[in-house]
């Protein structure tokens, strides 16, 4: 891959993460446990999809040839998607959704912080500077829910512990450096994920402790998302998300 292709691939990775978790959260709209939280999660979803749009726009400019903020999310298939396995996991229940969001928020927060501090790409820095404000709020919101439900009732605690354990397997991938990430870090516009691992572990440990939840023993790290080898869930997410563009190609909506 040349520099341009690496940058493109790296941006797609960032964009796909926010797109897919935003899409997952959007599934909740109208079905939340209480009206106020329905609205809260939708706000988060809107932030994340908004971030994905900025990134797709940037990626489309790099790619050229008529690529748009829509052609990238709507016309790529599973193998070309670069998101983490974590974000494509199903909503399952409010506990899973919160734990998934929390694990992602910690990662998302530090990643964007690092991009602002270290990236040599002005555009990426700009997008990250906007994202960090949103990510800060998301992290506050999901941390509080982790604590509230972990330290709530026996039922909520056990649901949260289960979710933590099952989703833990997907957190190893966060820090496994892909070839693109390595090249992006080397070129100076990207961040090596290993550089945020200790921050992530520290924050997660802190919140889980306050939530009276137990950190799982090091489990097996499922991986592949960053290079296009996804779980079966992503195919269904895309089938739904891309339905209109696939059924009625090349039209304006």
């Amino acid at each position: 891959m040349n520099q341009k292709e690496i940058l493109f691939d790296y941006i797609l990775h960032l964009a796909d993460n926010s797109m897919i978790i935003g899409q997952r959260n959007a599934e909740w709209c109208g079905h939340g446990p209480v009206l106020e939280q329905d609205i809260a999660l939708t706000n988060i979803s809107l932030d994340l999809i908004g971030e994905a749009r900025s990134l797709y726009q940037y990626a489309a400019e790099i790619k050229g040839g008529g690529a748009t903020e829509d052609s990238l999310p709507f016309l790529r298939d599973v193998l070309q998607y670069r998101n983490l396995l974590l974000v494509e996991q199903p909503n399952t229940d409010w506990a899973y959704t919160i734990v998934r969001q929390f694990f992602f928020d910690v990662y998302h927060y530090y990643l964007n912080k690092m991009l602002i501090e270290h990236s040599n790409d002005t555009r990426l820095k700009e997008i990250a500077s906007k994202t960090i404000k949103e990510a800060t709020y998301h992290l506050k919101w999901s941390s509080e829910w982790m604590i509230r439900l972990g330290d709530g009732t026996d039922i909520s605690k056990s649901k949260m512990q289960t979710a933590v354990e099952e989703l833990w397997d997907f957190t190893g991938e966060l820090f496994l450096e892909s070839a693109t990430e390595q090249a992006a870090a080397q070129a100076g516009f990207g961040i090596s994920p290993s550089s945020i691992e200790s921050y992530w572990r520290e924050k997660v440990a802190e919140i889980l402790e306050e939530a009276t939840l137990t950190i799982p023993e090091k489990g097996f790290a499922q991986k592949g998302g960053k290079t296009g080898i996804h779980s079966e869930h992503l195919g269904y997410i895309l089938a739904e998300m891309q339905f209109m563009q696939r059924a009625y190609p090349n039209l304006e909506w």
Binding site: V34, L35, E36, I39, N43, W141, E144, R148
Partner: protein
């Protein structure tokens, strides 16, 4: 366990620096932290505010509507509290 309803909170928002907090509505939340965040999500989605106060509704006390006349009418004839009560010469223009 019987499900207790989350308490009701009244929300006050400062639209911009320099203005009073103004009552905008209410919402349900389990605690004040959640109430502030909910207020942010519910009542400031269109840049309506820069600062939020929440008060649990049960702590708001109000006068009895039946006392309205006794409380507020006596102010109506104290016109000497208003600047226009005082007649000054035209030349003085702005005072």
């Amino acid at each position: 366990m019987t499900n207790k309803e989350w308490p009701l909170w009244e929300v006050f928002i400062r639209a911009k620096q320099g203005l009073n907090h103004k009552h905008v509505g209410s919402l349900h939340a389990a605690d004040y932290q959640m109430a502030i965040e909910n207020a942010r999500d519910v009542y400031t989605r269109r840049l309506e505010g820069v600062s939020i106060w929440v008060v649990e509704s049960k702590y708001i006390h109000a006068n009895e509507p039946s006392e309205q006349d006794a409380l507020f009418d006596p102010a109506s004839d104290k016109i000497y509290r208003h600047p226009t009560f005082y007649v000054l010469p035209e030349e003085l223009n702005h005072m």
